[in-house]
Subunit: 364 residues, 2 copies
Amino acid sequence: MSDQTEFNKDNYVLIMAGGVGSRFWPKSRNSFPKQFIDILGTGKSLLQLTYERFLKVCLPENIYFLTNESYIGLIVEQIAGVSVNNIIGEPCRRNTAPCVAYAAFKIAALNPNANIVVAPSDHLILKEDVFVGSIKEALVFASENDALLTLGIKPTRPDTGYGYIKYIPSSMEIKKVEQFLEKPNLDKAQQFLASGDYVWNAGIFIWNVQAVLNAFKQSSPSIFAIFEKGKDQYNTVEELDFIAEHYPLCEDISIDYAIMEKADNVFTTPGDFGWSDLGTWASLHEVMDKDSEGNSFSGKSVVLTETKNCLVQLPREKIAVIKGLSNFIIVDDEKVLMIYPKNLEQEIKKVSAEVVEKLGEHYQ
Amino acid sequence: MSDQTEFNKDNYVLIMAGGVGSRFWPKSRNSFPKQFIDILGTGKSLLQLTYERFLKVCLPENIYFLTNESYIGLIVEQIAGVSVNNIIGEPCRRNTAPCVAYAAFKIAALNPNANIVVAPSDHLILKEDVFVGSIKEALVFASENDALLTLGIKPTRPDTGYGYIKYIPSSMEIKKVEQFLEKPNLDKAQQFLASGDYVWNAGIFIWNVQAVLNAFKQSSPSIFAIFEKGKDQYNTVEELDFIAEHYPLCEDISIDYAIMEKADNVFTTPGDFGWSDLGTWASLHEVMDKDSEGNSFSGKSVVLTETKNCLVQLPREKIAVIKGLSNFIIVDDEKVLMIYPKNLEQEIKKVSAEVVEKLGEHYQ
């Protein structure tokens, strides 16, 4: 762990931990979503890995968790020594813009010079040192400029599942963003990859708290107005009541739509961080260590014979004996055993919904 | 349940519950063998089903369990109200002849007119009423004759996995046995099936206690001599010490070799009882209820798509979602998940031994 005395006390991190992750069913369910699971089989959940990554960036007391109220207990369980003051509960789901605005007002009331990293809790970063270096550089830039930064992932394939960001080429590490682009078709994705001036939008943001409040004021004035009313309540006993009353009034909108795509002071730091959003079983399989036949597994041990390109997810102390399967996702969860062709994983969301309808919420 | 007042108080049942059943790995292990498992998913173990079946034949206090000492606790757990006096523990494994002789001496000391059914605890009988009828008839025959009876299963296919019994055709229900035959090759098995005078040897015996003691005296005098020495100790506080000292001296030999194949007073009652010895996963699959695609399952529920002729064994409250598998055995046990081609199930014994060698006794 880094020497914490080097940390700028103005640096803050907001870890977004409210998602439900239904694409990882049956392992991830509403009551226990992806970020709380040891999905890589490392002994730590994605949330824990994310938290430990940001301990290299700022003081633990400056790391905040944004989550649904029903997951607060899980965060307390998984993050040793976390103060409940650092867990910000949303009373209802309103996408990312309202909760980022709420946290910005709350942190501004504590420290008007705060620089804030906003990051999902359920992404994978393999090249942690490169990532930490970029984040630190971005924090310095954010502290000195009225700028909204978003981390850019250098594309490694013409992926059609991500949004792209086009930046203006320059010799600087940090580039001015020209345009946000929706998920492209394959043709477009191939053009973006070939051009070299496009990065994937990972949803990891860095800004000074005044810059993000300005952005809300300009681009999303109704959300700004709602949270500005509470400026004397943040970090007092009245905060929860204020939020319970006003949060539900917010528009349901993402931070990208609410401010990023409208602002003209957006920058990006392109990098290769070994990043994956772990959005699907196949993307998890892609980043995991694999045996010589292309199989990945989590669990105590597997005995695989004539088995290729399978992903096997087991409870920690369980073993698997498998023969004669190729390209399957095999997930053994407490309540559900799933064996599904990997190339049909987009069906899983529908199948899981059918199971829940037939057998009840217990399996959600 | 039958009216118990009709039962002949001389009728006894010995349920053989000492086997280890390694072919049902990973569900059946040394510490928890097949007879103690709810392998059919009915909510009752094979042992419990066997016990309840024999409650239609004799008084509960006349039902004895023969087992390895280490399984006594499992029997007490599974058979409500059983007296420990009715559980006969073998101090070591010596195959079936010694334990049958021991039980015969013990029961003879209680009731010299006893008629005894000896039956495995881990077989399936679907046509219970036919079975109970044959057993009752055999008990009457045994009480009136110096005869060793063995239940004969009318073969339904040229199975090469069972021993056969050739009987002398007659108009009587109970036939004189001409010869015991070892597991045949396919040609022979087909001849046996075509002839109609052959039945499978199910290892279910019926005899008067004096008849079986006579048979031991004539055909297996060393075993007879060992247990005769204890005739004043059975059913006293000295029995356990006597057995601990003398039982290990017995030859390791099956009841078939020790007496049945040597005796000339052997009879059989051929019948169609919907019997299976449930010796393998495939034989279990054969007798279980199946869906229209030939899949059988135990567990709470399964969602099977493009899946055929699979056997799915799950813990009671678990569900499975499976797509695109044909002819697989899928067993989800507490410690092991196994997915194995059904036509290769003879490999499982070897694979399980390798797993145990690699990962330890925990998985045995």
